[in-house]
């Protein structure tokens, strides 16, 4: 295994532990144990638990960003793009729940970990930039209403994040998949011209 591959594996294990137990309840030695590595060797890959947390944030943001970029580059109506983004998000919540959990449980709930080096958009810019491009092009094509960016961003991301959270809590009565259609429709209705 190359150093890069090993690094990725550490990130994968750390992601699932952070998502499951939270940042503070997970130690470097927990991660090392799962990796069957010594704690000392772990530090060859990541100088601190914080740096690991930041890299994970950049990694998840990039992953989402790349997927949304593919949607942005499709020659389809904004209404269909919304559906594809919602689908992408809900599918991730179902198949890789640790990614969403990490975002909600670690990033959004422990901003102090990210205060130095991940402030503002720094570590999530890959994702936010693609959302900006999605909105900007939708307005340019006269499919979406021209409004404040954060009013639209909050409506979109807050809504689907909230649904993923309810799903995780076991509160939803139906499968998350079944919400793709009505949720996309609601978002489009709120954002359309």
């Amino acid at each position: 295994m190359t150093k890069e591959e090993k690094k990725e594996l550490i990130m994968k294990i750390a992601l699932s532990l952070f998502a499951k137990r939270g940042f503070y309840n997970t130690t470097i030695s927990d991660i090392a144990k799962e990796m069957e590595m010594s704690v000392g060797n772990m530090y060859n890959y990541f100088p601190s638990k914080e740096s690991l947390a930041k890299e994970l944030l950049i990694y998840t943001s990039k992953k989402f960003g790349e997927e949304i970029r593919k949607i942005n580059e499709m020659d389809i109506h904004s209404r269909d793009k919304i559906k594809k983004i919602v689908e992408l998000y809900f599918e991730t919540a179902i198949n890789e729940p640790e990614l969403i959990d990490y975002f909600i449980r670690v990033y959004l709930s422990n901003k102090e970990i990210f205060a130095n080096g991940c402030e503002g958009m720094l570590c999530v810019s890959a994702f936010v930039t693609e959302i900006m491009i999605f909105f900007e092009e939708g307005v340019r094509k006269k499919e979406l209403k021209n409004q404040d960016f954060f009013a639209a961003f909050g409506l979109f991301m807050g809504y689907i994040g909230g649904l993923a959270f309810l799903n995780k809590e076991g509160i939803l009565t139906k499968s998350l998949y079944e919400y793709v259609e009505p949720v996309s429709e609601n978002i489009y209705n709120a954002l359309k011209v």
């Binding site: 970029r69 402030e119 503002g120 958009m121 720094l122 810019s125 890959a126 936010v128 930039t129 693609e130 900006m132 491009i133 909105f135 900007e136 092009e137 939708g138 307005v139 340019r140 979406l144 021209n146 409004q147 404040d148 960016f149 954060f150 639209a152």
Partner: protein, 285 residues
């Protein structure tokens, strides 16, 4: 003694702003040592006649059924063009039509009546006097003027009016001037400044050698561009809060990424009035 360089300056639909800009050239009187104005509508020159010229300067936009010196203007222009060694479309009206809409080579962004001619285009409302003199000097000394794809001199229009702006540091860090006339802060996001995508070196050479619109607190109006004048010159066009026009030469994705990073990192020195920043630092000592 070699003969003087002969210029014939004709006025189409114009406010004469280009002429007045030219009159403000700092060494105006010295131009007459080597240049003879066969005709200029505003200053004492010979009586008008259709004749050969080394350079025909057209100021103003075209219009049908418009008369000058007893001639229908379009017919007059055809005759003068045939007799001119070089042609200069002077000002945004002559180049793109400006507020009238019909220029020589272009009607706004569409091809115009004289699109196929080899015309030098010098847009601007008005064009800087140094630009006009640059053309005169180059032509009378038989030097080649490098032109871009819209026949504008590259020496002038390779620049944007953003280059040389004293507010560039604020642009870099995305710190906006919140109100009209503020001395500090960038005018790009809120005040309608078109500098980053408007061609011209005016912020580098300055007007009257002292100032420019953005330096003084007025946004660049994009006066050298085909779509000048746009509506709402003091307000930035945005789509969902994102500028509709971004700086030239960069992809939207790259630009938004860079802007987000700059905004996130912040520059404490520029966040407040410069003078207050210094005062507080001294107080700390």
């Amino acid at each position: 003694m070699h003969s003087k360089f002969k210029v014939l300056w004709i006025d189409a639909n114009t406010c004469y702003g280009c002429s007045h800009s030219f009159f403000n050239y700092k060494e105006f009187s010295s131009l007459f040592d080597e240049i003879e104005f066969l005709y200029h509508p505003l200053f004492l020159s010979n009586d008008f006649s259709i004749q050969n010229s080394d350079l025909l300067i057209v100021e103003g936009a075209l219009r049908k059924n418009f008369f000058r010196m007893g001639y229908e203007f379009n017919e007059l222009l055809d005759s003068l063009i045939k007799r001119a060694s070089n042609i200069l479309a002077l000002g945004t009206c002559a180049v793109y039509g400006g507020i009238y809409g019909e220029g020589l080579m272009f009607n706004k962004k569409e091809k115009g009546k004289y699109f196929d001619l080899n015309i030098i285009n010098l847009p601007g409302c008005p064009p800087h006097p140094d630009w006009i003199v640059y053309i005169l000097n180059m032509l009378k000394s038989n030097k080649q003027i490098l032109l871009d794809e819209l026949n504008r001199p590259k020496e002038i229009f390779a620049y944007t009016s953003h280059m040389g702006c004293v507010r560039n540091e604020y642009f870099d860090w995305k710190i906006d001037a919140k109100d009209f006339g503020e001395k500090e802060g960038c005018l790009f996001y809120l005040q309608g400044c078109q500098g980053p995508f408007t061609h011209g070196n005016c912020n580098k050479i300055l007007w009257n050698e002292v100032n420019s619109k953005p330096r003084a607190g007025t946004p660049c109006f994009g006066c050298t561009e085909a779509d000048f004048p746009k509506d709402n010159l003091f307000k930035t066009d945005t789509f969902m809060g994102i500028p509709a026009n971004i700086p030239l030469g960069v992809s939207k994705r790259a630009y938004l990424t860079l802007s987000g990073v700059a905004k996130s990192l912040k520059n404490d020195r520029l966040e407040k009035k410069l003078i207050n920043y210094l005062k507080e630092k001294n107080e700390d000592r």
